[in-house]
Subunit: 306 residues, 4 copies
Amino acid sequence: MTAPADARIEPLARGVWGVVATPFTGDDRAIDADSLARLVSFYETVGATGLTVLGVFGEAASLTAAERMDVLRVAAENSSLPIVAGVTSLSTAPAIAEIENAHATLGDRLAAVMVQANSPRADAVIEHLQRIHAATGVPIVLQDYPKASGVAISTDAVIAVVQACRFVSAVKAEAPPTAVAIARLTAKLEVSVFGGLGGQGLLDELAAGSAGAMTGFSYPEALVACVDASLAGDADAAREALLPYLPLINFEQQPGIALAIRKELFRRRGLFADAAVRPPAVAFPAELSTIADAHLERAGRLQVVR
Amino acid sequence: MTAPADARIEPLARGVWGVVATPFTGDDRAIDADSLARLVSFYETVGATGLTVLGVFGEAASLTAAERMDVLRVAAENSSLPIVAGVTSLSTAPAIAEIENAHATLGDRLAAVMVQANSPRADAVIEHLQRIHAATGVPIVLQDYPKASGVAISTDAVIAVVQACRFVSAVKAEAPPTAVAIARLTAKLEVSVFGGLGGQGLLDELAAGSAGAMTGFSYPEALVACVDASLAGDADAAREALLPYLPLINFEQQPGIALAIRKELFRRRGLFADAAVRPPAVAFPAELSTIADAHLERAGRLQVVR
Amino acid sequence: MTAPADARIEPLARGVWGVVATPFTGDDRAIDADSLARLVSFYETVGATGLTVLGVFGEAASLTAAERMDVLRVAAENSSLPIVAGVTSLSTAPAIAEIENAHATLGDRLAAVMVQANSPRADAVIEHLQRIHAATGVPIVLQDYPKASGVAISTDAVIAVVQACRFVSAVKAEAPPTAVAIARLTAKLEVSVFGGLGGQGLLDELAAGSAGAMTGFSYPEALVACVDASLAGDADAAREALLPYLPLINFEQQPGIALAIRKELFRRRGLFADAAVRPPAVAFPAELSTIADAHLERAGRLQVVR
Amino acid sequence: MTAPADARIEPLARGVWGVVATPFTGDDRAIDADSLARLVSFYETVGATGLTVLGVFGEAASLTAAERMDVLRVAAENSSLPIVAGVTSLSTAPAIAEIENAHATLGDRLAAVMVQANSPRADAVIEHLQRIHAATGVPIVLQDYPKASGVAISTDAVIAVVQACRFVSAVKAEAPPTAVAIARLTAKLEVSVFGGLGGQGLLDELAAGSAGAMTGFSYPEALVACVDASLAGDADAAREALLPYLPLINFEQQPGIALAIRKELFRRRGLFADAAVRPPAVAFPAELSTIADAHLERAGRLQVVR
C-alpha cells in the first residue's frame, strides 16, 4: 500500500468521495444497517469515486469502537467502492487503535485513513502522522477542519506537513476561505486536495485546482455530475450541473443543524428509515419542514445530466 | 417618528436595504466620496428600498466619529432613499452619542438606527434599548449578529425584547440557522424581520417569512429582483432571479475575506475606484483573481428580470 | 451501589479527591506504571479521600481503551482509596462503553464515574445521564467544565439535571466564577459539590459550601490540610495551610501549560521519573525552570500542619 | 517626548502603574468624579509609579469621547502621577482620534498611550503603530491582551513589532502563560515589560524579569510593596508582601465578575460611593457578599510593610 521510501505515495483518486452519514433507528438509536446499506449502494450507483466513512458527519464521535467497525463492515459489504476511514481522536495512541480496527475490518478496501491536523505546529503534526504511519502503514488523508478539531493551522504549515510525509495521499481542506487554501496547496503539492463543507464552495474549489469533493449532500448525484464535468475540462457544464441544487446545498449547510437536515432529506428521499441523530446533536427543526418539502419538490423535477 | 404610547411603531418597509460598503482611497485610506456616491446612487437605480450605512460591512468600527458623519452625509446627498444607520458600540452611552450624531446629520432621512443585541439576557437588552430610545426617540432595528457582537442571544430572548420595546421596527436576524430563527420570530412578532449574511440563505429566509434582505452583494440588483418577486408572491420567479448569482454569493461570503471580495468586485464593476479595506481587515487575496474574473464574466452575461 | 427508587443516592464523601496525572516514559511515551503507583500511593499517604483517575488532567483523551484500563488497574492496586473514573466521551454510547470497561476493571472500588455536561439543555443532559445509569448502574459525578467540554450550561440547568437524576452523587463545578456557582448549587442541592481548577479558588469555594476539592496539585498535602481544617470548621487554619502554597498554585495553573508544569514538579519531587506529556499537549517551557526551582525550594522548607 | 531617530525611546518607568476603575453614580451611571478623585489620590499615596486610565477595566468601551476626556482630566487634577491612557479602538483612524483627545486633555502628563496588538501579523501591527506615532508623536505601550482584543499574536511577533518601532516604551503582557512570554520578551527587548491580570502571576512575572505590574487590585498598596521589594532585589520580601493578599487577588480575578468585585471592594473600603458597572457588564453577585466581608476583614488586619 505504501510507496518506495523516497517517493510520494500515489495521490488519492479524483472525483467525489461521498461522506457517509450513519443512520440510526429505534428509541436507543441503534445503527440501522439497512438504511446504511441503501446509502452506500446509492453512492455507488450515482458514480461516486469512493466512500468516506466515520467522518464528523458520520457521527463517529458518538459511536463505540464496536459500532464503528460495524459501520465499516456494512459499508464495505454493500458497495465495491474504496473507503477512506475517518479517525476521530486527535491523539496518537487512540488514533492508531482506531486505524488498526479499521484496517482489520476493511483490509485492502481501506484506501486511506483521514487524520485531523491536531496542532498549529507543523512539527507536532508531522510527528503525529509519522508515528501513525509507522504503526499502521496506511496512507493518510490530512484533514484541516478547525470547526471540528478546534485547531487552527496555517496553509504554510499544512504544506510543510505534507512535504515531510510522503505517505499523505490527499488533503481535505475545510478551513475557510477554502478556495484560497486550495489554490495555495495545489500550487505547492502533488497530492490530491479535496474540498468539503457540503459543496457550498465546490465550483470555486474546482477552479482553484481541487481534485473534487469529499463531502455529503442529500443529492450526491449533483456533486458527481459537477465534479465529473469539471475534471473533464468543461467548467460551464460543471456549473450547470450544480446550479439548480445550490439553494438546497445552502439550505443544508446551515450551521448547527446541517447534519439533521441532511438526514431528514435522506429520509424523505427514501434512503433512510429514520432521520434520528445521536444527542447532544440537535434534531431537525419542525419550522423547516415546509421549506424542505419545497426544496425536495424542485429537486425531484430536475434531471441531472451526466 | 414614534408611535402612540401603547402601539407598535410602523414596521420598517419590506424589500432590500442595501448595506453600504465604505470605499477608501490613497495611501492613508481616506474616504472616497465619489465612489461612495456612485454606490448609493446605484442602489437607488436598481430599486433598493433603503440604505443601511455604517454597518459591520461598512467598516464603521474603523471610522472616526467625524468620518461616520461624512459617510452618512454623502449617502444622503446622493440618493433619496431612507437610511438605517448602524451603531457600533455595544454600550449605552457611546451608542447614544453615535445616534445623536447620525440624527443631527440625517434628520428626517434617518429611518431607524440598527443596534446590536448586547447581552444574552433579555432584561439587559431591554434596558439598553429603552435608554437609547428615551434619549434619542429614533426607531430601532435590533440586530442579532453574534459573529460581530460576540453575544449569543436566544430567539426567545429576542422575542421578549421586541415585545417589550414598541419602538423596535425591525429585527435583522444573522444568527445561523437564520431560517429557523426567522420562522420563529415572524410567528410571534409584527415587526419586519430581515435576513442578512450576503443573501446566502435568502430564498429560505423569504420562505420563512422574512421582509426581505438587509445586506450587501456585488450584484444587488439580483437581491432586489428576488425579493420583489417573492413579496409579490411568486416564489419561482424569486428563485429564478437569484439562482444564477448564487455561485457568486457563495464566493463572496467566504469567511474572513468577504468584505475584501465584495469591494474588489465593486471595483471591477466600476463602482469603486479602489478595493482597499482598512487594516487589520485583510485584503483581497491574489489567488482568487482569476476566479473572480470568471464570476464577473458570467454575471455580465446575465440579464436580471425585474 | 444505587439508592432506593425515590431517594437521592448518598453524596460522595467530602475531602480531597486527588486527580491523578498519567506518567509516561520512553520515546513512545508509554504508561509508566511505577511512577503512577508512586503517585497514587502518595495521595493515600497524605490523606486524600479518594482518587479521580482518567480526568482531563489524566490525559484520558490521549489513552487507548486498553491503556485506560491499565491506568485504573495500577491505581487500584497501589492504594486502597475509592476511585472516581473520568469519562472522556460526550456522547452516550461511547460513554457507556468507557464506564463498562471501568466497572469491569475496578468492581467495587469504583465509587462513581465522572460525566461531563454535554449540552446547554437540561433535558438533553438528563437523557444522557439516565441512559448511562440505566445501562451501568454506577453513581455519577456531573462535571461542568466548559473549557474541556466546549459546553456552557447555566447553573440553573445543572440544578435541574441533578434534581432529576437521583443517582448523581456529586457535582464538580469548574465553570468560573466557581464560588458563585457553588453557592447557588449548595443552596439548592443535597449532593456534594467540589471545586477543581488546581485549587486556585479553593478557599472561596469552601466558604461557598463546597465539599472539598477534586483536583490535582504538585503538593496535594496542602490541599488536604486546607480542606480538612475547613471541614472541621476552622477557616483560619484552612487559610494558613493553603497560603504558603498559593504562589505555587497560581504558577501551576497557567493556561496552556498547567499539565506540563505539574508533571515537571512531580518529577522534581521524585514522584514521576519523566515529565513527558502526550502531544499535541505542550511540554514544560525551559524559560520556567529557574522559577520552578525557586518554588520547590520554598515548598521544601514548609511544614504542612495537619 | 520622542527619542532621536535611531534610538529606542526611554523605557517606561518601573513599578506599579495603577489601572484606574471608573466609578459611576446614580440611575444613569454618570461618572462619579469625587470617587475617581479619591481613587487616583489613593494610588499616589500608596506609592504607585503612575496611572493607567481608560483601560479595559476602566470600562473605556462604555464611555463616550467626552466622558473619556472627563476621566482623564479628573485623574490628572487629583494626582501628580504620570498617566498612560488606554486606547479602545483596534483600528488606526479612531485610535488616532482617541489619542489626540487624550493628548489635548493631558499635555505633558501623558506618559504614553496603550495600544492593543490588533492583528496576529507583525507587519500589520507595525503599520498600525507607525501610523499612530506619525500622527501623534506619543510613546506607545503595546498591549497583548487577547481576551479583550480577540487577537492572538505570538511572542515572536510581539518582539518583531517592538524591534521595528523604537517609539514603543513598554509591553503589557497579558496573554497567558505570561511568565513564559515575559521571560522571552525581556531576553530580547530593552523596553519595560509589565504584567497585568490583577497581579495573579505577579511573583512569577517579576522573577521572569518584568518591570512591575500595570493592573488594578482592591489593595494596590500590596502590589506596590511587592514590586518595590522585588526591584530592590529582595525576592523574599516581595513574596511576604504579596502572600497575605493572594487569596483576595484570586477572589477578585474570577472570570466574568472581576470588575464588579473590585468595584464592590473599593466601595467597601470607602474609595467609591457606588459599585455600579455599566451594562452589559454584570453586577456584583449577592452570593459573594459574605465571602467578600471575610476577605476585607482579614485584609484590614494586615499591615503592609513598605
